[in-house]
Amino acid sequence: MIYKVIAKSEFKRFTDALLRDNTSFGPRQVDTDSRGKAVYQFLPVTSSDDVAFDYTATASSAKHFFLPFREELSRFVFQDQEWDQQISYEGNPIVLIGLRACDISALNILDDVLLKGHFPSPYYLAKRKNTFVIGMDHLPLPDCFCKSMNHHTISTGFNLFCSDIGENYYLSINSSKAFNFLKECDTRDPIDDDNCRLVERRKIISDSFRSEVDVTALPSILDIEFDSPVWEKWGNKCLNCGTCAMVCPTCYCYSVEESFDTNLKGATRQKKLYSCNLVDFAEVAGGHNFRPKNGDRLKYRYYHQHRGFAENANQQICVGCNRCGRACLAGINPKDVINDLRMEKESCLTNISSSPDRI
């Protein structure tokens, strides 16, 4: 990693050129909600003026740039009695600007799952390696809990990360591409004062978290609470809409559909992002559904996010962005569900093993 300091005006010049010359996406305001709050999404940007640098967090994550909501895996062409399968791993170079630390952490988690397993995904890889990621730090929203998940800081997974130290950005340069791009710009090595400001900035960010989710021993609590009534309670609220997984930066589930072209001369195999909260997620041929109940489906989403599956070494995959909590119309959010589980666990402790009487 190389560290540099750049004046904000110079950074603007840098991004203007970068965004103009590349297909780029960054945070933009799309709406103002009924409570007067701005709603942001990652959308195409062509200059620094398009980028809402002071944005909070996007409603949907940046996941779909790597795992599109719908993606063609292969095409089939029928000819005479033969057929031909065509596969292309497309990844047009893009620039993604403005990702938060938790967003980049999420990409690192997806890397673990999709690139480090037995069957690395060439589709994901093509997009990941062709994406130039610029991260930017920010003060957390009141409901962000990435600090609890230890994803509020980041040291890898990006090309460039900008920490706001007042007049300047403190740049962490993590790729030769970023280094070369920046050669054209007026930057300098950090001096003591910059380093102090960076430390201070990090402290302010760290002290600004207002939501905490106690995740100590959470994987084992989840195991113990497998049959907890908490799941039914929250499950009863669930609309099975899949919104939580769609906006989540780490949910990577998908379904695969094959369909003929209307002219019957070809066919397509498509992958579409899916969610374990949808009613037919665990439905198999013949119609049997392994998870017919809302509560079971919701439980599995929490299991995967907060306990982890074997395929990613039993690591939690939730980064604590609370996008799922914000988007859920039914008010289901990790903080309340996990606290509920903990209370359940603790009440059972006080009930069953009350302290022995003194004397």
Binding site: F69, W83, C238, L239, C241, D261, S275, V279, L329, A330
Partner: protein, 254 residues
């Protein structure tokens, strides 16, 4: 057509309209990029909007519209006797549709209002499955041509015909739409079957549930969320009643 040893027979199809606006049939002539290929799949036996020829040896009957007169009942029963696969085509056929709003009033009152002084035979609106057995439903007001094409291709190739089981929200999220509830409106997306690509909400118009209930909807939780946001329960009722698609889910609380 022959591929890999399979022979695809053209589908002997007929389309009939009952009480409706014929908007769903019109959709069949839509989507020009694949229209010729689509028509290639079909051996059209009877189809007022596409061809003037009429034959009675069809296998598949698309039924558009709801039933609101006795002569329609008889015509529908005759079609049922001929069709191997009878398809309820569009929301009027599947649920009664907008026409069902009529059922809230007395027939006398209605005739006096719409056809004053005339003698008009009419009866309360019924969906197709109230009258004959329906083999397949393709909901939508209007139907989504892409879905119709997929269903026809599946019928021609003998593949399983299914409708999406997830609600509209799921597709809405893939378009990065701001949820209309966040903008202070009631949207039926969470209880409505997807498959329309959230076309209304993407245009910032709330879903009125034209595709009917999604699989295993959670009506109590849905009513709860409308209440929690202090939105109008009358508005909710009105939306739910719009296509008559949520009949079985009347909510007592709202």
């Amino acid at each position: 057509m022959k591929h890999r040893g399979f022979t695809f027979e053209k589908l002997k199809i007929a389309s009939f309209d009952f009480t409706c606006c014929e908007g769903c049939q019109l959709q069949l002539a839509n989507r020009e990029s694949t229209l010729i290929d689509f028509l290639e799949l079909l051996d059209i036996k009877n189809f007022r909007e596409l061809s003037s020829e009429q034959f009675d040896d069809y296998d598949i009957a698309l039924i558009e519209g709801s039933i609101s007169r006795q002569d329609e009942v008889e015509r529908l029963q005759a079609i049922r006797r001929q069709a191997k696969t009878l398809v309820a085509f569009g929301s009027c056929a599947c649920f009664g549709g907008v026409n069902s709003l009529k059922n809230k009033f007395s027939l006398k009152e209605l005739v006096a209002e719409v056809y004053p002084g005339m003698k008009v035979e009419t009866m309360p609106v019924k969906k197709i499955s109230d009258v004959v057995k329906v083999d397949l439903s393709i909901p939508g007001c209007p139907v989504n041509k892409e879905e119709v094409e997929r269903v026809m291709v599946n019928l021609a190739t003998g593949s399983l015909v299914t409708l999406p089981k997830h609600p509209v929200c799921f597709e809405c999220k893939a378009q990065l739409n701001t949820c209309l509830f966040e903008l202070g409106e009631i949207c039926l997306g969470p209880i409505t079957r997807g498959g329309c690509n959230a076309v209304c909400t993407t245009g910032k118009t709330p879903c009125l549930g034209c595709r009917g209930p999604s699989e295993e909807i959670n009506m109590p939780a849905f009513v709860e969320l409308v209440k929690a946001r202090e939105l109008s329960l009358d508005d909710l009722q009105e939306k739910i009643a719009f296509y008559n698609a949520f009949e079985g889910f009347s909510n007592h609380e709202a």
